[in-house]
Amino acid sequence: MTRSHRDESPDRLHVITGGRSRGADDALDAVTLVVAESAPAPGMQSEHAAILRLCRTPTAVVEVAAHLRLPVTVVRILLTDLIDTGQVTARHPAPAPSQSHPFASPDVLEKVLVALHNL
């Protein structure tokens, strides 16, 4: 286990997010895949630039967080900035299981089962 951000200066996280506490896109799940739509621009906030480099291919929100070594909460806010300006898009395919539809679709389950058998 790497060291946790528990000991990280709150000031630094405050700076990264511009002090915002809300406004992250609620549709961004831990596994939502995000893709960069443009290259980093000069003078851009370093975390934004790092996200654009990392997301040249589709990358899950949680992978962005792990690679940037930032809490998922912070990354969702940073990603929301980039989505708002069109520099990143989130891929939202068929709805995931929810309380009203608790199970994944039969096709999805079959696909997972086949992949697991092939491991």
Partner: protein, 206 residues
């Protein structure tokens, strides 16, 4: 202290450019029960560490005001992945089982295909809360008893967990890829059985 300006380290293969759907399965259990080991046994990448934060006041998980005050709670978790095909990828999350981490479970269980509860019979109480929460949320799950050298009768384990007869309970060795794989297969087959069982009601309702 971590530097956020350093380049992200490449870790295994990138997802295909056509990837559009990510599925998830949560692996939950107490400290040292074998969550990371199970994820590592089947993952195509070395498990990665990350964390979630929330305020203890119980507000939104996104309330970053919490990061700045003493009431914030941070919980570390890790994950691995299995690319299924050109469009789909499955993420496996290892999350601690203690009750105080419910906010992380809600985050991870929501929208997940299902969950695996790992049980170490030396600390069986670490699994109770997660099982309660999964039952309440209606998230399908299976229970895997990680064998740390003490063989317990599975029916005794089931009784100690007060586990419904319909929930699969299996033995596993998370260090073995074949065994870890079998746990996940058992979960997916369990969900398939639940889908099949719920199908007639759906038909009559429409």
């Amino acid at each position: 202290m971590h530097s956020t300006t350093s380049e992200p380290e490449p870790n295994g293969v990138a997802l295909p450019p056509t990837a559009s759907r990510a599925l998830k399965i949560a692996v939950v259990g107490g400290f040292g029960v074998g969550k990371t080991t199970l994820v590592r046994s089947v993952s195509e990448i070395r498990p990665l560490d990350t964390e979630e934060t929330m305020t203890r006041a119980g507000g939104g998980v996104d309330d970053l005001a919490g990061v700045e005050d003493k009431r914030s709670t941070t919980v570390a978790f890790d994950f691995g992945r299995i690319t299924l095909d050109a469009t789909s990828v499955l993420y496996l999350f290892g999350a601690p089982g203690q009750e105080r981490f419910w906010f992380l479970w809600d985050r991870l269980f929501t929208g997940s295909l299902g969950a695996v509860v790992l049980v170490d019979t030396r600390r069986i109480e670490h699994s109770w809360y997660a099982i309660d929460r999964l039952e309440q949320q209606g998230t399908p799950f299976v229970v895997a008893h990680n064998d740390f050298g003490v063989e317990h009768d599975l029916e005794d384990v089931r009784a100690a967990l007060d586990l419904d007869a319909g929930v699969p309970l299996i033995r596993c060795d998370a260090r073995e890829r074949a065994s870890a794989k079998q746990v996940l297969i058992t979960l997916v087959q369990h969900v398939q059985a639940l889908v099949a069982a719920s199908a007639p009601t759906q038909r009559s309702a429409t």
